[in-house]
């Protein structure tokens, strides 16, 4: 079924009896060419691009719960491509370009809103660093603009530019950045993949890998053994837990990241704003809630909930630039589990086991990467070579000394 304005009007006039399920509830077959573990944004995008871009068939996505129930449903919905390093920026810019065409391509309203993102500058040294980053972005085909304090005050009159400790000295804007309706990304990819014959199998937890003579031949699941020529792990947040079943240890720790939303307000915040002196980022959802977040809690966790010191820290960061936030009530907070890698960058690579592939380590940058991650992973699965924008995301970069450390923090996952 194709969605269109005409269809909406027709259904409105005929009692909405013509809508069908957006994807089939598939039962697992005995064998597939590709089994993708994890029905989140990245897994569903991988299945979609495998089927559409690389013309592959016999693809299944296995999900232990319901699709889109993990981090694609638990993030702050921001998209951007404002990275510095060569290993990262082409990949994230590729992702932003895919976001720009996503809704037409999927025939699904994912509410992609390029309302712009602004990173605030609070010191001369930070301005130098941001100018360098902006230049790196432009060299890689992205957009970046340095804004003066006057222009920022004109556009965002509610910002406290004269904070005694962290005055606002300017900002680096990426006007093509913005937000996307996060759940719709999972649903849109699921529907489009299903239309191309992908089996989306929910309530099907993978309990083990079948590995014979160094080759992965399939997965044991809660619904029996499923054979596969290629098995693709795509479960960021739980990567260590899954890959431990294949006796792999990863350069990853799992950490909890909290996010928050205020009560619904009239439109007050155009675009996404990030605080440069602490860690705070905020946008306003189309329902009116101010959606914001900050740092991870900083200790290993699989609990999907965090502690109060980080709530306080995030809200302090918000109040420093954004005093009107204090008048809004906090409505909800939640936590998601991040694969925090040793250098803060992801991994899309083959493993040492033939037929077993890995996608993970997204730290807290996974949502914006969803389309490119799916595309690059599908490229790797279909051709056994990395996509041109994802050549640096290898397992062996740590032992080869080729880490992609945006913040220069070293091998300490909770500092990225």
């Amino acid at each position: 079924m194709n969605y269109s304005g005409f269809k909406v009007i027709k259904e409105a006039l005929t009692g909405h009896r013509g809508w069908g399920p957006a994807w089939r509830d598939a039962a697992p077959q005995a064998e597939y060419d590709y089994v993708i573990i994890g029905g989140g944004g990245h897994g569903l995008a991988t299945a979609y691009y495998l089927a559409r871009e690389f013309r592959q068939s016999r693809i299944a996505v296995l999900e232990k719960g319901w699709i889109g129930g993990g981090n694609v449903g638990r993030n702050t919905t921001i998209i951007r491509s404002n990275y510095l390093l060569d290993g990262n920026e082409p990949f994230y810019e590729f992702s932003l370009k895919l976001w720009e065409g996503l809704e037409q391509e999927l025939n699904y309203n994912a509410m992609v809103s390029q309302r712009g993102i602004l990173n605030l500058i609070h010191s001369d040294a930070q301005r130098d660093a941001f100018i360098r980053r902006g230049n790196a972005m432009i060299l890689n085909g992205a957009d970046a603009e340095l804004l003066s304090t006057t222009r920022i005050r004109d556009r965002y009159p509610f910002l406290n530019v004269n904070n005694a400790r962290f005055p606002i000295k300017g900002g680096l804007a990426q006007h093509r950045g913005g937000t996307v309706r996060h759940d719709a990304v999972a649903w849109g990819y699921a529907r489009a993949a299903d239309q191309r014959g992908v089996d989306i199998i929910q309530n099907c937890e993978v309990t083990g890998f079948r590995i014979e003579n160094g080759t992965c031949t399939g997965v044991e699941t809660a619904r029996g053994f499923i054979g596969a020529k290629k098995v693709a792990a795509c479960v960021a947040g739980s990567s260590s837990r899954l890959m431990q079943k294949a006796a792999m240890r990863l350069p990853i720790e799992s950490h909890v990241l909290q996010a928050f939303v205020s009560e619904g307000l009239k439109p007050v915040l155009p675009g996404v704003i990030t605080f440069g002196a602490g860690h705070f980022y905020c946008s306003q959802s189309d329902k009116g809630g101010l959606v914001f977040g900050g740092d991870i809690d900083g200790y290993n966790s699989y609990a999907q909930r965090g502690n109060l010191p980080v709530v306080e820290d995030v809200c302090e960061g918000g109040m420093a630039i954004f005093p009107m936030l204090g008048r809004a009530r906090l409505l909800r907070s939640w936590g998601g589990i991040m694969d925090m890698s040793m250098d803060g960058s992801p991994i899309i690579d083959r493993t040492h086991i033939d037929g077993l592939y890995f996608n993970g380590g997204w730290c807290y940058g996974g949502f914006k990467a969803t389309p490119a991650s799916g595309f690059a992973y599908a490229h790797l699965l279909a051709t056994d070579t990395p996509h041109e924008t994802a050549t640096a995301y290898r397992f062996d970069r740590f032992e080869r000394g080729r880490m992609i450390d945006e913040k220069g923090m070293g091998n300490q996952p909770n500092l990225h």
């Binding site: 990853i252 799992s254 200790y299 699989y302 609990a303």
Partner: protein, 95 residues
């Protein structure tokens, strides 16, 4: 989270800095034949269990002692707290 410090009693976790897996106490022998492989493992690979996790916390805003905390990563429940010094001595790492 409250960490029951062996010397100071219960202290708020925000007084501490988190380092990671307590296996970091066991720094490999740099003169061993396989030192390079051991150090790659030591520096970059982690068990990252979804269950009890022995981990290092540094009491930076307190007495600056290192602790080994055993904590369930699925519930944040703290099962035991020891001075890292005692653990290291027991494992023959310290004098």
């Amino acid at each position: 989270m409250l960490i029951d410090h062996p010397l100071l009693g219960p202290r708020d976790a925000s007084e501490f800095v988190y380092k990671g897996d307590a296996s970091l106490i066991n720094r490999p022998d740099w003169q061993a034949e396989d030192a390079l492989a051991k150090f790659i493992d030591y520096g970059y690979l982690r068990d990252n269990p979804a269950s009890d996790h022995r981990e290092l916390w540094f009491h930076e805003q307190g007495d600056r002692s290192w602790l080994v905390v055993t904590r369930d990563t699925t519930t944040h429940e703290i099962k035991s707290v020891e001075l890292a010094r005692d653990v290291a001595r027991r494992e023959g790492r310290s004098k």
